[in-house]
């Protein structure tokens, strides 16, 4: 069950926020509601911090240590986000 998604990047200010917006758009497009979405820095990535971590493809190996994670190539693409979230939610 995915109740909380944490998008993160190295600084927690830019890239992570862009991903947060796109996660929210993608969830809406997929008809998934009731999921908390936050953005943060890599320092906050730890087991239990979220049910799913979303980050750039370069950082995904760090995130996998903390839990389920998806890596994004094109962070401004809602389409890619939608496809990857769809798989993560098993839809």
């Amino acid at each position: 069950m995915i109740n909380k998604i944490m998008c993160f990047c190295g600084s927690g200010l830019g890239t992570s926020f862009v991903m947060e917006m796109n996660v929210k758009k993608a969830l809406a497009n997929l008809g998934i509601s009731g999921v908390e979405v936050v953005h943060s820095t890599i320092d906050d990535v730890m087991p239990g911090a979220a049910d799913l971590f979303v980050c750039s493809a370069d950082l995904v190996s760090n995130a996998e240590k903390a839990g389920k994670a998806i890596g994004i190539q094109n962070m401004v693409s809602v389409k890619e986000m939608e496809e990857k979230l769809k798989a993560a939610f098993g839809k």
Partner: protein, 144 residues
């Protein structure tokens, strides 16, 4: 896009490597007092530590560091390189550098939202990447 000022928009030919590209892309913000001199080196050091997470899509980089790493005032700078800039460990190059300075965690979010929307439009990105001069480049962003 209100936050962007014309004085912080530039077109450059090429950069020797990604570090020089970041220094060039931060320069207008540094010259106009939005970031401290150390800001560019903090961005470089973040990328060295954590990988090229600032390359957010094909051709697009979003260089930024944390407020406490030398950002003084919230501002955006746009630098377009005519030639590709390659990052170590990244298979896609970058040409458009949207430099972000944020004085706190939320004053830049509206601008970032607009930038993200603009850059998710592939035709708009194509237009931006082929901008004939800095005036056009500024207008593509400002009119969004």
């Amino acid at each position: 896009m209100e936050l962007l000022k014309k004085e912080n928009v530039q077109i450059c030919d090429a950069a020797a490597d990604w570090k020089e590209a970041i220094r060039t892309a931060v320069k207008p913000l540094e010259e106009h007092g939005y970031v401290e001199a150390r800001y560019k080196e903090e961005i470089i050091s973040n990328v060295e530590k954590m990988g090229p997470y600032i390359v957010i899509a094909d051709n697009i980089a979003l260089p930024h560091a944390r407020p406490e790493q030398g950002a003084l005032k919230t501002q955006i700078g746009v630098t377009l390189f005519r030639n590709k800039v390659v990052f170590d460990g990244k298979n896609v190059p970058a040409r458009l550098f949207v430099t972000l300075a944020a004085k706190d965690s939320d004053s830049h979010l509206d601008a970032l939202m607009e930038i993200s929307e603009l850059l998710s439009d592939e035709e708009a990105v194509e237009r931006i990447l082929t901008a004939p001069d800095a005036d056009h480049l500024y207008r593509y962003f400002a009119s969004h």
